[in-house]
Symmetry: none
Subunit: 225 residues, 3 copies
């Protein structure tokens, strides 16, 4: 107890599918945090990674799954405030759409019961700026692809996949560099905030500006494609 | 962080089906905002746009859909207050009725699980004046038709499709013009408020007065019919 | 923005089935308001009006309707307070019973998913005095009959159909006359309040006193029977 502190300093050396590093703003400065999404039912044998497109066939189990645990859905934990809870709901809706539109054979979301958590579990968190990170976490899990290493991201997501601007760009960049992040994805609409930063803050880190989630996806998974 | 601000300034150059520009009144003046509605399950291949009437056949899947995600229903996000949440419920009921009465073959709402969001996700919003915008967003999605470009709208909706008057007409017109809107749809009962405005506010923008939702529909989709 | 005002001034010239004018008391005087009930699923082609008894056959669809939207039930909107919400629940229970007892072939309520709304959507409303109006709204929809024009009503309903007294009789009569109402239905137990009114208030409007809902029904639908 005392002021909330983000304790996510390099919790992961490499992030498995479903885990993505985000950037948060706190009253004490920027911080990195991880979004973790995992499947809690349905544990199908995973398709092999490395193939061009993962195939999650439409399940025959569907009609058998009457229990809550078998139902497609999302639960969230991590002391998320109202805005961040809504943001996770939004991310879930959009991730389903993104996968449906880009991976025709992937029916992952039809049967997957998902759990999204944001460590540390006792630290209250809020705000919409983890939207793109949450989407990426779910897309990563659904496609069984790891996000490229040393990437962090920030940005609000709209229901149609627009990436909306966020606050605290300077603090977030400083925090990302402190954690050894090499590339940041941020909203196109924050380019003006970035351009105003001093050179010593901007150096040693690559920044990618995203207008839509497709832009985020292209950077985040460029090495696993 | 600071006073809530509507940051929707031309988030969309053109609005896809399901997205409609509304007008809001805030303590700091008028603002444009977008209502986004998307389908979150069922992802049926969309019928081709441009046809006279989209055909969403009554689904055979219906009895198979045991999961929550497959159920017809509406979830809403965007930090909406109680009145605005009720307004979305009202819009949903009326949109179903409007489509059923006007598009006999369109069973879109029977199976669609919908998500309505109002960016920006962290800005609290309330009031009934987005009612017609919400209905239009849902009708647009159900019929797979885009709203004509450069249209914004405001108005409370009743359960039977009456368009009820709203506040802040002057501020809303100023905000719409600032965003490059060319046509506004507003309630007939606000005509007196409009008539009292100075000429310089009224010029350069066309205003359409609606008594019922049918009037709104006729203007909003005039080019896609 | 300013004190809440009932803005229902003749929203309807004629009221379709499911819409009934009620009378409310507010701290600023009496007001008319509309109760709107509409069906939100099942959209069966409506039986023709004008027949002696509308026939809503027991539906074969019933077993197919697994979605929430297909279930019989009632949702209410319009910023109703706790008492008014309970009143709508009471009205729903009684309306089902009234129709079952008086229209043997009418299975409307078995399958209808109903939505009751009270404009204006942002004006908080409470109290039990719209009970008979709510019942009439539902009975009107179930029987596909319009309420006679220029009628308004007020009265609390009991679960067995008793009509209980309400407050603000003087203010309600003044408001009704201001809106062009020609006939008012009120509780028998309010006859003494009415008798105490000055002649100029009582003139130009016919008042019907009801002990039970059957009395209300007989007046409200006298022309459509």
């Amino acid at each position: 107890v005392g002021p909330p502190v983000f304790t996510s300093d390099r919790l992961y050396d490499v992030t498995p599918p479903g885990v993505v590093m985000g950037l948060a703003w706190t009253p004490m400065g920027g911080a990195t945090l991880y979004i973790e999404t995992q499947i809690t039912s349905g544990f199908k044998p995973r398709p092999k990674a490395g193939e061009d497109e993962v195939e999650f066939p439409a399940s025959d189990d569907k009609k058998d799954e009457d229990g809550n645990s078998g139902r497609a859905g999302l639960i969230v934990t991590g002391q998320l405030g109202d805005v961040m809870k809504e943001s996770s709901s939004l991310a879930y809706s959009y991730a389903k759409r993104f996968v449906a539109e880009n991976f025709a054979k992937n029916h992952f979301f039809d049967n997957a019961s998902l759990h999204l958590h944001v460590p540390a579990g006792a630290t209250p968190k809020d705000g919409p700026s983890a939207g793109v990170t949450m989407v990426t976490s779910m897309v990563s899990l659904a496609t069984d692809k790891e996000v490229d290493p040393d990437i962090a991201m920030t940005g609000e997501i709209s229901l149609t996949g627009k990436v909306l601007p966020v606050g605290g760009i300077k603090e977030k960049i400083i925090a990302a560099k402190r954690e050894g992040v090499k590339r940041i994805i941020m909203p196109e609409e924050n380019r003006k905030d970035y351009d105003e930063l001093l050179d010593f803050i901007r150096k040693d880190i690559d920044v990618y500006f995203a207008k839509t989630y497709q832009d985020v996806y292209n950077v985040a998974f460029s090495q696993s494609k």
